[in-house]
């Protein structure tokens, strides 16, 4: 009975994974197909759709925007989030729980709900539709994400190290530069990579705020899937493969530093 039960569980996971791999590899096979119509595999393979997608979808520029937006969001989110994470990890004060709740809201509330008022505001100040607007909008959930990822890392660093350095005559800046920063590198890496993956694959906010020249790869992909039939499906799949490769490269780097469950959510309470 027990055996049967756990066998059923594994069968479900296996089935899910097979479906998932089917979904992903269907895109890849289709991207390399000359023509594919109801057969298990296409009769002839070609790489011409990549050429086609690259020139017709203006992917050089789209990729440039994507990389710029992602890097800008990572840097700004870490710069804005680090000091706040430090204070929240080290100090106690009135209203701290309220502040944490405020930082938690952009992560909890779905992006479609606050994305529309945010886009309205950005368009009113003529930032909507620009690359700057896309960066600013993406920072809204990413600054809190940086704070919540960095906090436990900073909590683990003993305060004694900072006091020791200060006693030896280090200034505040020196304590930060020579003690705190080197010890937080693992946390900064984790946060940076998670923000990078999230920004590249984040759709809703970018979609609502971006204009013709400020689309990222996911948004451009959405428009082409949406306009299905206008372009050959193979070329859309070729574009999807290029997007996938971009995300996978970042993900491969990420998995060297980050535990997979960390990408989902931190449920455990801050330790001690």
């Amino acid at each position: 009975m027990r055996r049967l039960w756990s066998l059923a569980l594994y069968m479900f996971v296996l089935g899910f994974i097979l479906n998932l791999l089917g979904i992903v590899s269907h895109v890849v096979v289709s991207a390399f197909a000359k023509r594919w119509f109801g057969t298990p595999l296409p009769a002839r393979f070609t790489t011409e759709w990549f050429q086609y997608a690259w020139t017709n979808f203006d992917l050089g520029r789209v990729l440039g925007v994507t990389v710029f937006v992602a890097l800008a969001v990572v840097v700004l989110a870490l710069v804005l989030g680090f000091p706040a994470a430090y204070i929240l990890a080290r100090r106690n004060f009135r209203g701290k729980a309220l502040l944490l709740l405020l930082y938690f809201l952009p992560l909890l509330i779905p992006q479609m709900t606050y994305g529309i008022p945010l886009a309205t505001t950005l368009y009113r100040y003529a930032i909507g539709g620009t690359v700057t607007g896309v960066v600013l909008a993406n920072l809204v959930p990413m600054v809190p994400l940086a704070v919540f990822i960095l906090m436990p890392f900073i909590e683990q660093i003993s305060v004694n190290l900072e006091w020791g350095a200060a006693m030896m005559g280090a200034t505040r800046f020196q304590v930060f530069r020579r003690v705190l920063l080197p010890l937080t590198v693992p946390g900064l890496l984790t946060a940076g990579i998670l923000i990078l993956v999230n920004t590249i694959s984040n759709f809703e906010l970018t979609f609502l705020v971006s204009g013709a020249g400020s689309q990222t790869l996911v948004v451009a992909l959405f428009y082409n899937v949406f306009a299905g039939g206008v372009r050959p499906v193979y070329s859309v799949d070729a574009m999807a493969v290029m997007y996938m490769v971009t995300v996978m490269l970042v993900l491969l780097v990420a998995l060297r530093f980050v535990r997979p469950t960390q990408m989902v959510f931190r449920l455990d309470q801050p330790r001690r």
């Binding site: 996971v13 998932l20 000091p83 606050y114």
Partner: protein, 294 residues
């Protein structure tokens, strides 16, 4: 987190304020302000001057608009129940560590990282009329006609499940494997069978995590937007409330009406959360998190 005792000096000095201020200002200017302004804007319809509830009245009296609420509930509620139930079943069955854990969790992170659009394009191909899924079922003789799994309600449900199941499963797995295993052993030593252990010992311990899972999955599926467009019928059976808000904002350029719909969407999400919290209160509360497997 240390609780602040009465009379303890606040540790908020000038440096702390300077450190907190940049990110706090950012959240206030880019999140709180637009949100509040959206509510204000929703009360100022484009065609009238002064404050009025005209947008809300228009939404709830126009069938084309208010039926999006039912459509969205019709997608979000079944999806939430199925995702959380399946994830709980699996996570509970695998609470004592699993075979190939790292490989499985790594593969499960894929759909989360690849994002909804790539998944949608893959589902359109894989489950489509000429895709592998139908080909296999036809070849195995299980079907005479290919199933229509995309561009309808099923397509949206498939995509939501693919997206949210891994996320929910990993979250619950982390939560359940954090529960002190000695509690379960004690129950077993005292003669409890597997069902009693689950319903009387483990379920109350899992309840807080379960409530969080329910809340997150519900809120996310209530805001469903890209999958409802790409895999459903955005002009009919799967015209969700997010699509209605988007169309008002970017097709009719009526930001006031669009904000009103966004507010309605937020209120329904909030209502869902309140129901979940109230329901969780009725379950036994037991804050006994041990130091199990991390």
């Amino acid at each position: 987190m240390r609780r602040r005792r009465a009379g303890e000096a606040s540790e908020l000095d000038a440096m702390a304020v300077v450190c907190l201020l940049p990110s706090l200002l950012y959240v206030v200017i880019m999140f709180v302000y637009p949100f509040l302004h959206g509510i204000y804007l929703s009360l100022r319809p484009a065609k009238q001057s002064g404050l009025s509830l005209a947008n809300y009245v228009a939404f709830f009296t126009d069938e084309w608009q208010y039926r999006t609420v039912w459509i969205t509930f019709g997608i979000a509620v079944p999806n939430t129940v199925v995702v959380v139930a399946v994830a709980l079943l699996l996570a509970y069955g695998m609470r004592r560590g699993i075979w190939l854990e790292r490989t499985i969790t790594t593969i499960l992170v894929l759909p989360i990282s690849l994002g909804v659009i790539l998944l949608a394009e893959g589902i359109l191909g894989f489950y489509g009329g000429r895709g592998w899924f139908n080909q296999i079922l036809l070849a195995a003789g299980l079907l005479q006609e290919p199933l229509t799994l995309t561009h309808n309600y099923t397509g949206v449900m498939l995509s939501l499940f693919m997206q949210q199941f891994p996320f929910c499963f990993l979250m619950l797995l982390g939560y359940i494997s954090g529960i002190d295993p000695s509690l379960e052993s004690s129950a077993r030593t005292l003669g409890a069978g597997p069902w009693i252990v689950f319903s009387r010992v483990m379920l109350p311990l899992i309840a807080p995590g379960l409530a969080i899972a329910f809340a997150l999955v519900f809120v996310l599926s209530f805001g469903v937007f890209p999958s409802a467009i790409l895999l459903g019928q955005p002009a009919g059976a799967t015209r969700t409330i997010a699509i209605a808000a988007y169309q008002q904002a970017f097709e009719h350029y009526d930001m006031s009406y669009a904000s009103a719909i966004a507010v309605v969407m937020g209120l329904f999400q909030l209502a869902g959360l309140v129901v979940i919290v109230l329901f969780r209160r009725r379950l036994v509360m037991a804050p006994t998190m041990g130091v199990g497997k991390r």
